[in-house]
Amino acid sequence: EDQVTQSPEALRLQEGESSSLNCSYTVSGLRGLFWYRQDPGKGPEFLFTLYSAGEEKEKERLKATLTKKESFLHITAPKPEDSATYLCAVNYYGQNFVFGPGTRLSVLP
């Protein structure tokens, strides 16, 4: 069964302390990998889509990268407003989105 795992489960950073979140997936017909941000009490908000190994996307303090087995979401000099749960979802050929459990990020001032 195709699986999506995310690590760490939770991460606490000081403001300005850069770090990375990981999303790992089983390799069997990946069509695309999606990153979402979810704030408490809200639906997931789309951030990035990655389709091929080596691809990178950037938005403000966030950069997403993709390899053949995993994706990283790099957060550079985070601010408290970056605190949220970050979800990755994998779209496999012939299947719908499979979401990981998410990483809860807290950025302390």
């Binding site: 809200k42 639906g43 997931p44 779209n91 459990p101």
Partner: protein, 118 residues
């Protein structure tokens, strides 16, 4: 551009009661999804519609859950009878055209309906 709309935002019911959720997707989006998100977990797909036809309902508990998308626009998800384990957030999402590359397959989510079954 208006986003995905959902109502109600919150619902509290007792077990064995019935409940219905409504979703209106982004205008022009042919595909609509219903997800269940249990606290601390990622969303799990319940059902996918393409226009008014069901594409995937393999994870929908059909003995108690039902969904329809009449006229290929808005959709209703129903639970009857509800169980305690149905307490979750029910998310609706829509996309232009799944199975394609680029922005057309990106799913956009509504705010969700928070259900508590007592």
């Amino acid at each position: 551009e208006a986003g995905v709309a959902q109502s109600p935002r919150y619902k509290i019911i007792e077990k064995r009661q019935s409940v219905a959720f409504w979703c209106n997707p982004i205008s022009g989006h042919a595909t609509l999804y219903w997800y269940q998100q249990i606290l601390g977990q990622g969303p799990k797909l319940l059902i996918q519609f393409q226009n008014n036809g069901v594409v995937d309902d393999s994870q929908l508990p059909k003995d108690r859950f039902s969904a329809e998308r009449l006229k290929g626009v808005d959709s209703t998800l129903k639970i009857q009878p509800a169980k305690l384990e149905d307490s979750a957030v029910y998310l609706c999402a829509s996309s232009l055209a799944p199975g394609t590359s680029g922005s057309q397959e990106t799913q956009y989510f509504g705010p969700g309906t928070r259900l508590l079954v007592l």
